[in-house]
């Protein structure tokens, strides 16, 4: 006998039910087939497309290794081999994260991936990068070693000059550790989630249309072919 509850019957929920509104808006924006499609357009055919998922994968490794470091506290990695090992994994996954993110943004720029109503995808991606920088900075100043001492005493000048230092004190380890372990990872994960959901909603940006003259010349050169009109890339959308 199954322990799974049967699907609940539709209630006569009033039209103004917040639950119904949220559910319907969610399903309308991202029906399951759009949220997790099992296919991609045929133009998704380049290794450059791998750097978005590589960035997410790096973020997963960062959070996993960071969680292990958090389990044992900020001093652990200084006096055990295992701790130092996970600190190294955490540091290198951060390097890989920025590496993948920047190659991803280079690719997306040269594809002009904001086209077709996708400007919010670019905007959320750009803001993710800019938030990742202080996320890394708070990590560097939380190391509790010479590097942390130097970076914090230097970075304070830049932050103080714009008034941010008045409420964001890089020499305050407790505050910096809190930002690094909780607040900024939440911000980064939230931004990445919004970014990915927008990509799912709008789809991967289609290629630039070839210029009409070039396309016409190309089709004219291929004699006997049914010259499709320049710029046409396919049939009706599913």
């Amino acid at each position: 006998m199954s322990s799974v509850a049967p699907d609940p019957p539709a209630t006569q929920a009033p039209e103004k039910s917040w639950t119904v509104k949220v559910r319907e808006a969610g399903v309308e924006a991202l029906p399951p087939e759009k949220l997790l499609p099992d296919g991609q357009p045929t133009y998704v055919a380049s290794w450059i497309y791998m750097f978005g998922v590589a960035s997410i994968a790096s973020l997963i490794v960062i959070i996993t290794s960071g969680s292990i470091l958090a389990l044992k506290g900020p001093a652990w990695w200084h006096y055990t081999g295992v701790g130092h090992f996970f600190n190294s994994v955490h540091l290198w996954s951060v390097e890989l994260f920025f590496f993948a993110m920047v190659v991803h943004l280079w690719g997306k720029y040269w594809m002009a991936a904001w086209r077709g109503g996708r400007s919010r995808v670019w905007v959320t991606g750009a803001i993710t990068f800019l938030v990742a920088v202080p996320a890394a900075l708070t990590g560097y100043v939380s190391q509790q070693n010479f590097d942390a001492q130097w970076i914090s005493t230097q970075a304070k000048d830049g932050l103080n000059s714009v008034g941010v230092g008045a409420f964001f004190n890089v020499t305050n380890f407790g505050q910096m550790y809190s930002y690094h372990v909780l607040l900024l990872p939440i911000a980064v994960v939230g931004l990445v989630s919004a970014h990915v959901l927008l990509v799912r909603k709008h789809g991967v940006v289609p290629p630039f249309k070839l210029e009409r003259r070039k396309a016409a010349l190309a089709t004219a050169a291929s004699a006997g072919h049914d010259g499709s009109p320049a710029g046409t890339d396919g049939g009706a959308q599913s």
Binding site: G39, P41, G107, N160, H225
Partner: protein
């Protein structure tokens, strides 16, 4: 919006799809990245240079420590004259009428005379000479305190000036190698200050100043601002940083200790500090931050910036990315 976004003839894709397993792609990516991180860890590990302490500083560079402590007492050190958020002894940086450092005010008050010198000295027990010196100092009017402190601090400033100018420094400060004690010939009457400074040096060497600066507010502490600012006013951190290529003029904010890769994504931020007018400006930090702020905003708004948003169309790197698609379009 249409004015900014020019001609965007991108239509929704109405063409073919092929099977693509996104979940498997993510799992493979996590595996590959995890393996790469593991490989880099095994090959290179990570740096962990031990932090400096005030105790180490006072033992390795006693003259530098005493000189810095004297400037803290005299109110001439970097921290003492910093301004907000530590004190009102300076206006901070500004750009024309924009003065956020001043506007946001003092949020982390530090009185260098009290917090870095007198406060730690008050914790020293069973030292009649020090107790008397402190009593004499605290009872004196502000003007007298300043004169004593400046008389003691001046020789250190003169030596620093001479060294910077490449001249022979005056012999007004000497360090006895065996004991590490510092002897100073003040420029005038220094009152009880020499006794206070010698006691502070001894306290520092024992670790007492590290402890005192950290627990001065409460037992549990996570705020290292005071000991860090005290050390940063001196020369030990800078000496170590220079050896590790971490100074500003060495593009240090991009670097890590040792030969590890650092933060290459900070290249543009580091670059501005190397060029005029930022390089020699007293307001370099706020100016660079403002430039980076504008550029960051522009980076976010690339889709809307005329010209910039057309470059990918003009320089056809996209033809390499979508070569298979274009081959199919032109041959079908």
């Amino acid at each position: 919006m249409s004015l900014l976004r020019l001609k965007d003839d991108t239509q929704p894709w109405k063409g073919r799809y092929y099977p693509y397993d996104l979940v498997k792609e993510l799992c493979i990516a996590v595996g590959v990245i995890a393996l790469l991180a593991l490989l880099l860890t095994v090959l290179f590990s990570s740096p962990d240079d031990k932090p400096s302490t005030i105790a180490q500083w006072s033992r390795q560079l006693p003259q530098n420590f005493v000189g810095t402590a004297a400037s803290q007492l005299a109110g001439t050190s970097g921290t003492a004259t910093y301004g907000p958020p530590y004190n009102h002894n300076g206006t901070g940086q500004e750009a024309w009428i924009i003065k956020p450092q001043k506007w946001l005010g003092v949020s982390h008050p530090i009185d260098t005379e009290r917090d870095f010198v007198v406060g730690p000295l008050e914790t020293v027990p069973n030292d009649p000479a020090l107790t008397a010196a402190l009593a004499q100092y605290k009872a004196a009017p502000e003007k007298q305190k300043k004169e004593w402190a400046e008389a003691y601090a001046k020789p250190f400033a003169e030596i620093a000036e001479a060294e910077e100018a490449g001249k022979k420094p005056p012999a007004t400060v000497s360090v006895e190698e065996a004991t590490g004690t510092v002897t100073v010939t003040p420029s005038g009457d220094a009152g009880p200050v020499p006794v206070m400074m010698n006691s502070l040096l001894a306290l520092a060497k024992s670790g007492g100043v590290d402890g005192s600066l950290l627990t001065s507010k409460q037992f549990f502490q996570t705020d290292y601002t005071k000991p860090l600012l005290f050390m940063a006013d001196g020369g030990l951190l800078e000496e170590r940083a220079k050896a590790q290529h971490l100074l500003g003029e060495q593009w240090g904010m991009m670097n890590e200790t040792g030969s590890y890769p650092g933060q290459p994504w900070l290249w543009l931020y580091a670059l501005w500090y190397q060029v005029e007018p930022f390089k020699s400006s007293e307001n370099a930090d706020i100016l660079v931050m403002m430039v980076m702020g504008v550029l960051s905003l522009a980076f976010i708004c690339i889709p809307f910036i005329p010209g910039i948003n057309r470059i990918p169309r003009k320089i056809p790197i996209y033809k390499l990315i979508w070569k298979e698609h274009y081959r199919d379009v032109t041959s079908s």
